[in-house]
Symmetry: C2
Subunit: 288 residues, 2 copies
């Protein structure tokens, strides 16, 4: 392990990572004691300046390898993806800092199919998830199709922190994110020098099943909202027959699935345009 | 009283009023029983389409009379203000529905200097504020300088509802807003037919003192956040010496004022660009 990168501002209105980047432009003294280099990177300066998620297209959907190799793609983020891929490609570990309007605490998102089989990633996540506010969400995407920024590195974790309205800062979540990264860097240093304790007692994670759209009218307009009973209940079990949505006139729409699921990204602002009201996951606990 | 107007979407990313407008495009059957006309109006269709607060400039700062009379102002919202002023001018009562990322519950904002002396406005607010989730915020602006949309009507209340991230819906707040408007219409009908009960036992309201900016660097950049102790504590007392902000490196900045104040609009997203971290108000209770 030689090079660790911390990325903020992949989405230009998620201010937690953006202001951590500003803080870390003066590297903390402790970083110079680490047995690897650490650098902080602002991913989308144009969108950050505009305080918008993106200018032309979602940067965190712009890293599909065929797109990176297509010189004809001229959108701001398509070009930015090429620049970042060249700059960050090959980094040993990359943390990509995000915020969400969903009540997700600190969620470590793993998107490589083999992430949980990789001893370092697995041990690091297990170490961080000893904190009950930290959870692991496994949403695998084949590397040849992965659209995500952190896929350019050798290993990565997307750190999703909320609830926080985009374009705002929340001090508690800001410091919680900083603490999470500090803990991760300390663990990586111990791992690097063989001092890490493989203290894993087993691992609980949430395995992505599917995304669920809002109810819609025949014209495709929103026809309802997340039900009040479900709002802010990310990572809590949802059983068949329990309330999922409510229409604008007040009719409850129940969850029709056949198994208990654990919703995440409930009512995330940026996913309205992607037609996701939430994602459903299965809770998995692996014993050693 | 002949004409009541309910306005949504003055800001195009405040979805509560926008989806109430969609609901009310089919007027509720009860409205036809009222002794006055009720119409619902979508104020900023362009910004609503883009799901942004505004396209060119804040519509709710575009109603200064000299601007309405200036044909050279060609921004989208400058023109929209003229159209709305012609369409809505002279309405007897106007409710303008807004959402905020601040924890303000249902806040009735009064911006006419004489609003609290007007028996109808006063009695209506007193009636609605019997609900402990409903509060009155008095922020007077001289009519000749008032930039606010509802200033075009004879009487008005801005209904500010939160906390809700812009670009999202929250079902509980959606139905709470609908209930507030239904109660207000019922009260206006009773007033119109002399059936209203002047049950006012006194009135508590929050009188605007000043807006407070975030701490800033010498270059004008944000240098801190709302302190965790103050976050979401809208309408709670803030005493001299208590935490106000916290810097990115973790230093607390205390409130330096000489009197207890009641902050509102704490950490509202749209006010970052206006350089307001919050507004401070004085709590006033008038006995009859």
């Amino acid at each position: 392990m030689q090079r660790v990168v911390i990325v903020g501002g992949t989405h230009g209105n998620e201010l937690g990572g953006i202001y951590l980047h500003k803080l870390w432009q003066t590297p903390p003294a402790e970083w110079s004691q680490l047995p690897f280099s650490v650098e902080s990177c602002l991913a989308n300066p144009g969108a950050t300046q505009a305080c918008r998620r993106y200018l032309d297209q979602d940067l965190n959907r712009s890293f599909v390898p065929t797109d990176l190799n297509n010189p004809d793609l001229a959108a701001y983020e398509a070009q930015r993806a090429k620049v970042l891929s060249a700059r960050l490609g090959g980094a040993d570990f990359l943390f990509d800092l995000h915020n969400t309007t969903s009540n997700m605490g600190v969620t470590l998102i793993l998107s490589r199919p083999d992430a949980l089989d990789d001893p370092l990633t697995r041990q690091l996540c297990s170490h961080l998830a000893q904190d009950p506010e930290v959870r692991i969400y496994f949403n695998p995407s084949p590397p040849e199709h992965s659209p995500y920024l952190p896929s350019v590195a050798q290993r990565d974790i997307t750190v999703e922190v909320g609830p926080m309205a985009h374009g705002t800062l929340n001090a508690s979540l800001f410091f919680k994110t900083r603490e999470t990264i500090e803990k991760a860097l300390a663990f990586l240093a111990d791992w690097h020098t063989d001092k890490s304790q493989p203290a894993e007692q087993g691992l609980t994670y949430y395995h992505h099943i599917e995304n669920v759209d809002y109810p819609r009218s025949s014209e495709g307009d929103l026809a309802g909202m997340v039900h009040p009973h479900l709002q802010s209940r990310d990572f809590e079990p949802l059983n068949p027959g329990e309330p999922l949505f409510i229409t604008f006139s007040g009719e409850t729409i129940a969850y029709q699935g056949s198994e208990t699921v654990w919703p995440v990204f409930i009512n995330e602002q940026a996913y309205y345009e992607k037609h996701f009201a939430m994602s459903l996951a299965r809770k998995v606990t692996q014993r050693l």
